[in-house]
């Protein structure tokens, strides 16, 4: 108890120094948390992917499409349960900064593959019946204040022209990992327009979404699908939904690695700052530590005082930093920059990493000053007086 009292009194002895050190820690822990959350957000799609779903795309590149009639041949392959398709739409809602993922999908069965999207049956039916209908995720609807019945104008980029969609359903996620920032419309509606303007681009689709009976057979079924279209005009590449999503992440792997490195560099810098603070503190109090030893306190007790002070500083800064990370992440998620991520939530693992960083900062910052103060000779320490 007395030990804790002495630590807390020492921590707040040099108020300005403590305030500046804690501020630095708060900034570092928040920055670390946000950068880790960016990395998590990058992998959010892959993490929420189902192992029972496959994605088939053109073997050359995702930029190239495949004929929609492939679906019938895929259905006949052993192990395939349901085949649907989707096409990246890539339109702009008012401003390019209002980015959100948009997919033109087979309205008849696409949502049968995604039970994690919780859609009211009557709203789903209304969507299916309206060729200009759209289904949007809850986060997206909340972000723009949309409600069922709103007409959303979207300017096409891949599919040029000004399009209008009526929101017929808003879906919720089954759990926190389900992404709810997407916008879905009828592929048929888009396809009809394309066929009129560019007949050769009609009846072409970006990816097939396939539900299989047995996830353990995903590799065999993928091979069978790709074998079916070997030597055709549009050879296919089939992989699990997770592998497909990770493929996107891999394209920007260098950025992810850079973000990770920067997040740890931030912690390393604050570690040096706190270590410097503790070294200054210990140097200034060397006579006090010598006095404690004269009174009979052990070198270990002196080291523990410095260690405790560093830990209090680290946890104080980390505590505020962790608490601030949540509103900061939420603010970022709702900003135009945050809209680039389908999901931007601080994960439990990020919080644990922040705590681990705080412990590391405290321990490492106290190591050298604690060791030196414990070892300093009493007579040398007492000479620092006067």
């Amino acid at each position: 108890m007395y030990y804790l009292k002495l630590i807390f009194k020492n921590v707040f002895r040099a108020k300005l120094r403590t305030a500046l050190t804690v501020t630095g820690l708060v900034v570092a822990i928040v920055a670390f948390g946000l950068l880790q959350t960016v990395v998590d957000a990058w992998f959010a799609g892959a993490n929420s992917a189902s192992s029972a779903r496959l994605v088939t795309r053109n073997a050359i590149s995702l930029v190239f499409s495949m004929p929609t009639y492939y679906r019938e041949r895929m259905r006949s392959i052993d192990g395939v349960k349901t085949v649907s398709y989707s096409q990246w739409f890539g339109g702009i809602y008012k401003e390019p900064s209002n980015f959100f993922p948009q997919f033109a999908v087979d309205h008849n069965n696409y949502f049968d593959l995604y039970p994690e999207f919780l859609i009211k049956p009557d709203e789903l039916l209304a969507f299916k019946r309206d060729r200009q209908g759209a289904i949007v995720g809850r986060k997206l609807a909340d972000q723009f204040g949309w409600k069922v019945g709103d007409v959303i104008p979207i300017r096409g980029t891949i599919f040029s022209g000004n399009w209008q969609f009526t929101i017929r359903a808003i879906f919720d996620g089954r759990d926190e990992t389900t992404l709810t920032r997407q916008f879905f419309m009828h592929w048929d509606y888009i396809n009809e327009s394309v066929k009129k303007r560019f007949p050769r681009r009609g009846d072409q689709i970006g990816v097939f979404n396939i539900l299989i009976n047995d996830p353990s057979r995903a590799a065999d079924i993928s091979k069978a699908i790709d074998a079916e279209f070997r030597n055709s005009l549009a050879e296919t590449l089939t992989e699990t939904e997770k592998a497909f999503q990770l493929g996107f992440v891999a394209q920007s792997e260098a950025i992810v690695v850079a973000i990770r490195v920067v997040s740890f560099v931030v912690i390393f810098i604050i570690m040096a700052v706190v270590a410097n603070t503790m070294a200054m503190t210990a140097r200034e109090r060397i006579a006090e530590y010598a006095t404690l030893k004269v009174l009979g306190f052990s070198p270990g007790y002196v080291a523990a005082l410095i260690f405790g002070e560093a830990m209090v500083l680290a946890f104080f800064g980390a505590g505020i930093g962790i608490l601030l990370t949540f509103p900061m992440a939420s603010g970022f998620a709702n900003s135009p920059a945050g809209a680039a991520f389908a999901s931007f939530a601080v994960s439990a693992s990020t919080v644990w990493l922040q705590v681990a960083c705080a412990v590391a900062v405290g321990v490492i910052a106290a190591l050298v000053p604690g060791w030196r103060s414990a070892r300093v000779k009493i007579v040398d320490g007492l000479r620092h007086v006067g």
Binding site: L6, N10, L292, V294, L295, G296, V379, V385, G386
Partner: protein
Amino acid sequence: MSDTLVEIKNLAKSYTRGDQDVPVLRDITLNIDRGDFISLMGPSGSGKSTLLNLIAGIDKPTGGMLRIDGEDISKLSEGELADWRASNIGFIFQFYNLMPVLTAYENVELPLLLTNLSRSERRERIEMTLNMVGLSDRMNHYPNELSGGQQQRVAIARAIVTDPTILVCDEPTGDLDKQSASDVLNMLKELNNTLGKTIIMVTHDAHAAEAAKRIVHLEKGELLDEGM
């Protein structure tokens, strides 16, 4: 019949600087009786503080024998010495060496934390000791709220609260005005006379040294003579 508390025989202390041994104390032989009050005097560099540190167990001799209350403390390990100091030595410094973040009460409580006394027993002792040094109305004051003389009285209270065998004082009046110095010396004399505390005091001040029953002079690391 004398009751020798501190037995010092052929005591030597030297420091190593580079390849050289620098002797600080040479062949010191001195006995101090229980209940004695002794002043160690000498010019700067004479080795008086080093001798005091050796007797207080905060430094170790390089030769000779140093026995206190029958125990050869030069043979104790660092940890054993720390325990020995806690129960046998009360140290009074020139610059008080109080913890600035602790109140007078908390400063006096520090050495008691190393004992098995309960909180209420500690409180009783601290209040009694602070009362003895005339600071019962300053218990909750921090050192920077006290005068130099008052701070030294808190330091004296801290030194005697565990009822140590020996009080070791290193220039206890060196940082005080005349009146405060006189108060502190009177307090030490009283502790010696009424409680029978053995006091060993280093001082430059001949007037302060007169408060002791014996004065021992040191020069260039050697014991010269004994006054009074």
